[in-house]
Amino acid sequence: MPLASNLPSWSTSAFAGTLTALSGASSASHTQGGGGAARGGGQDRHVIQMIAHASLDVIEEVVRKDNAMYLKAVDKFNEWTVSAFVTPGNTKFILLHEAKNDDGIRAFFVDVWELYVKAAMNPFQSAYVGLKSGVFDGRVRASARKHL
């Protein structure tokens, strides 16, 4: 996959944060085990998470004006394009992707939304606690394989 398709042509080396090197040294338990797939092919997981987190700024602003649930390519950071999906309950799904796959992403988000609603209907599930359902995880993965 052309990693840097969104980047200037002369950009060759990937941005490797020095901080990650530092933090890796501080704790051995850095690799997250079964929690989630190692996204972003070798990229630091936290950096990706931070990009997703940072894009909430833009999403929150856009949501205030835009009623659409699917926010296509709402933000960009480094090589990542951020698309988001805001449910009526103001839960936000954020997807970092490189390639353009508008229809696939939309279908994926709708799938995830349905799965999320099903998971959230569990009376033991609180909106303030992370969703730790293996079934949900697996189905989201399946949907991702199908659409993305």
Binding site: S9, T18, L19, D57, V58, Y128
Partner: protein
Amino acid sequence: MDVQAFASLAQIRILLLPVGSIRKTVFEKWAKEISEFDQIRLLDVPVDTKDDRGRFMPNPLSAGYLHLSFSRHPPIKSQSALSVFRISQFPLGIVGIADYSQKEDLSSSLSQFNSSFSDQFLGASYLPLARKCFAFEDVDGQPTSNPEDTPGVVFIPSVMGNKKLYIGTLLAELCSNILGELSIMLSTFESPPGIDLLNSSILPTFPPEEHRPSVGAPRPKFVLPVQSSQPELSVSSASQTRSSTTPALKRILTEPGMGSDSLSKIHVSSMSGPSKTRISGTGLPGPNGRFSKILGDCHLLAGRTIDAVSSYNEAIVSLRSQPDAIWHASALEGLATAGVLDAWSAAQGLNSSFSNAKEPWTEFAEELSQAVTMYSKATPSPEEGLQYTHLAFLYVTAVMRHAGLLFSVWSAKGWGPLAFMTMLHPGPHPYLPPTITPAISQASFHLDRMSAISGIQRSEISAVLVQLHGPWLLHLGSRERVAVLEAAAGIFSCLGYQRKEAYLVREIVGCILDLIVCGREESDAGRYSALGFQDDGSLGSSQVGIRDNENTSGNDSILRLVRYVCETHGVNLSSVRCHTGSGSNAMLPSFVEDGHMSSDAKLIGWPELQIGIVREALAVAEALPDYPAVALFSLSALKSLHHVLDAEDQYHLHITASRASATARRRGQEQVFEYWSGNPLVGIEMLRVPFGRLPIERPVSELQSLSQKVGFTLPGQADPFLYNPRRLVGAKQAVVVQMETLEFVVTVQNPYCFTLELLAISLSTTGVPFESKEIPVAIPSNSVHSVTLSGKALAAGVLVVRGCMIQAADGVKQEFGLPISDDKDTNYLRAVDGVVNATIFDARPKKQYRKEDATLSKRLTPSTVRFMELKVVPEQPMLRIRRTSITHGALMLYNGETSTIRLTLENVSSIPVDFLKLTFHDSTKAHFEEALADGGLSVFDSYEAGYNLIHRPAFWWWEGGSKQSHVQPGKEAVISICCRGKSGCTEGMVQISYSHLNSEGSTGDVFCTRQLLYPVQVTVYQMLECRAMDLLPHTRVKAISGGMRDDVEQLKALLQCEDAGYSLFTVDVRNTYGIPFEVSFIHESEETETTSTSQIVSPGSTHRFILPLKRFILPASVTSSPIPSLTDKQFVVGKANLSAEEESIQRELFWYREELFKRVKGRWREASGSRHGELSLRGQRLTLPMLKALRTETVRIEIALSSQSESEDTEKQLDDIVNARHTVKPNDFVFLRSRLSNLSASSIAMTLSLGLTPSEHVIYNGDISNIPVGRLDGGSSKDIVTVLCFTAEGRYDITSQAWMSDGTLDRTWVGEGVVQVIARSGT
């Protein structure tokens, strides 16, 4: 790289340098003074036209401005390749600032100043174009030499009045020099060698050093033909001498209103060259384009925007056709800058707002975005001189320029003077425009409003700015990288995009740390070798400890950034407060919460991300190294993130914190933390004082009533328990005794996965002084642990237990309060509220905290918080039971038997006992008390119950013994207690209350007693049963058959009482026990002598006891009084609705029964032993016929029968057979004589009624009912004779009833006589 304003392309950069040994403050002062000149009017710039310098000199009438920017840093060497491409990036002038008052030779300083250029500007050796040295005289200083003597120095004496004006003039002069030099420099490129030079590489540089002399000296002129790509740019080949005047003359103000040079055609003054030929249109388009671009740059610098626009347009036209992207892009940038400057000067002149349909800035924005795209598409070619670093720099700068344009317009709320202000002269805080305050950037509606006004969405600015970030940032030099990131972060912050800002800030920290670590490694290597250690690994730092003198300046700022990043991600790294310097005895404001860790409900942010961020923060703090911060961060993370941290991380953080604080302590950075694991306190419970030590409060009134109180008082609250623990809990204050040890069970929790060690835990109390020891505790992981703390109150009063003082390792002692929650429901609601308020990915947790704090403080106002309160009473004596007279505490009694227990009490305290009170409880009591408290009993039954409780207690204090109530310290006292066998009693309890009343502290209306309890196990044998008590009217018995037996004889003797005023009391006594008992019944009364009957009742047998009883009468005043209530209940409402008649009968029965039991007493005695007791008749009932037999009638009627009337014999006979059985012959006339005797004291009018059954066989004369008797005086008697004839054989019952009549129809029965007659015809 200094902060670049949007218009940096149009700013003449001037470097301020200190000269000589100037103090920093002085330098800063003057540098600030100079820096205030950020623009100079073209009019003020002296025109210097000699030596071809006049090319960029301003028109004398032009109204434009030169824009200056000042920097303190020399340019970076690596960027020297840009010295031609972007000349504005480099300082064009240098101003040296010298302190003239310093006692040193100014000239030497000056030479040093001059020589420093060669070091500073190695690459761009052509620069700077001009320099000046200002020597400021301070007030206190004596010049060592005359500054006027030193050439190249401008002396500014302290006495000079308007220094500012002077400095302005000097700066204008400097600018004039710069402009002159600029035109000379440009002339270099106008020759074919110059063009070649420009074309030689993508980023051409100035000719090398040897081609040029040093600055200031006259430059050799390149002999180059002037060339111009465009025909209209024809060069007026004026002579050099003329050119000194012509440029000014040739420039014609076509648009005076625009106020700037507005020549549509640029006249490029040719350099003074021997050949004045012109190559027009034949030159390569590239160099022409590049030259035009440089020309445009220079025009822009010189404030001639119209010229600049033209040059740029020309450059763009020529560059478009060839792949010279970065030159093209740069020209576009310049064009946009020129456009903005134009607009600015227009606005400056007109001060008008723009009302165009299309926003004017869109054009510039498009140009800039085009430039950005071009930069990003450029191909780096190191062989041609275009390094990655330069390209990245240019690209990033262009992005910043683009973003800066949008941001300025947005922040200035539209295109206007404010926006220009931001773009041109941003001042000291370039990224915090005046319209944005921190408060505004927090409120989204403000930000949205600004977007609406300016027409620029924040996301647009963000989209532009985000382009800046990418891997290429690594190509930039460290300083540039930090500056770019800083600038971008600043803009994001103003946009309200805190999360993006945090991301960039995190990278800034990374860059800075990189520098720190690298720098340290370098210096380490140097130092080790300097110390003589071979860096071959044989002598590692592990063997030789080298303590560096660390430079910690700036650490705080880095940590502040780290904290900010964490805060944005919802982790408060300062949640644990830290106190440095103060000792561990420092007290913190107390932490009061209702039992639960408040952070439980809050979960803000993305846990995985937060953990990563915290790890980074720790890494940063460790790398600095700042050990206090490491400890602080670790502890804060533990506090705020312990819900999401796994065990390994928790342990790691804990170890890190303890290690860091140990290191910090070793290095003298003493610091203490407040307790960090939330509220460890779960509960405090006072251990119950043993009952014997428990003081019980009693009202003082009890003391007074004690002496006269005999009766029974039922306590208001029916509590069947001797000691009810619930009563204590419900009470607001527990009572404890001064100087006696109290024990509290403190429950603490540890939510972490490691053992939490508390250095000290002690009780926190207010009120009376409390002496307690603090103890260390280790709480096992993930558990709740209980600790027992003890202490004693030193004075009497109220002791408030607020909570605990807890000190963790490296922590400050802190109080944790534990208020008593009064309302569980509100707590619950509050907890629910907390959950709802928390938002999971909230961007601004700070606001939430604030809100939370407010509610917390509201909750903790003193009025609402209550703590455990204990009442401490003065010291109390202590008694113990030394010995008793019964073994095993058990007592075996027959029913009705009385026994005595002796208790020996010993005073084991040093305080005398002067109050002693015994209370007794037994197992039968509860039943009666409950029945009484229920109130369901009839009046009669409740009397019985009360009687049982009061007059027949199971235990009582024996009056015969000395009722001493004083026990001196160390002495003993004996008390005797009587015990009665009551059937159903299984156990009893002696409760001894004692106190020291005359203690000085005892004031108020209560006093305290302590109690001793002595339980007694009681076994009561029920051996004799009374039943079927009866009372019969006494009939004289002449002969009783079977007179052989003793008992019959005895009975006969008993029944031989003459007087008719007797009745027979009979009762059956059954022996249900295994041994015989001798039972006796005794009749005692004042009137008669005591009679008794006694008999041995064998086991299993029943014996009827018969006892003649003297009949008696109770006065009406007694019998009509109500049945007394033995309880203190006042309003007893009878359940049964009795009529008045029934009630009077009931009362009569009651009182006669009471009297009967007073007179007749049953006793028993073991037939073969000495044990004795009494036999209670209380279970027996008195019926109405029995009452009749018992009560002395008012009128006695004696009936006699005789065959003759009125004879002496008859009299005799009558006496014999009175009230007995008679035998008469049938069909004989019989005289029935009824003698009525009034036994009462008053005279009664009465009638007599005879009853004859069977009446059909009796013939009589006259009326037999209501025979008037008349009034009989008290004590007198009267005979009424009636003649009868029995017509048949058989038995007849004759009753004669006397009725008292008081003139009305009502009559009252007053007496009765009965006789049985047998009518028999035989003899």
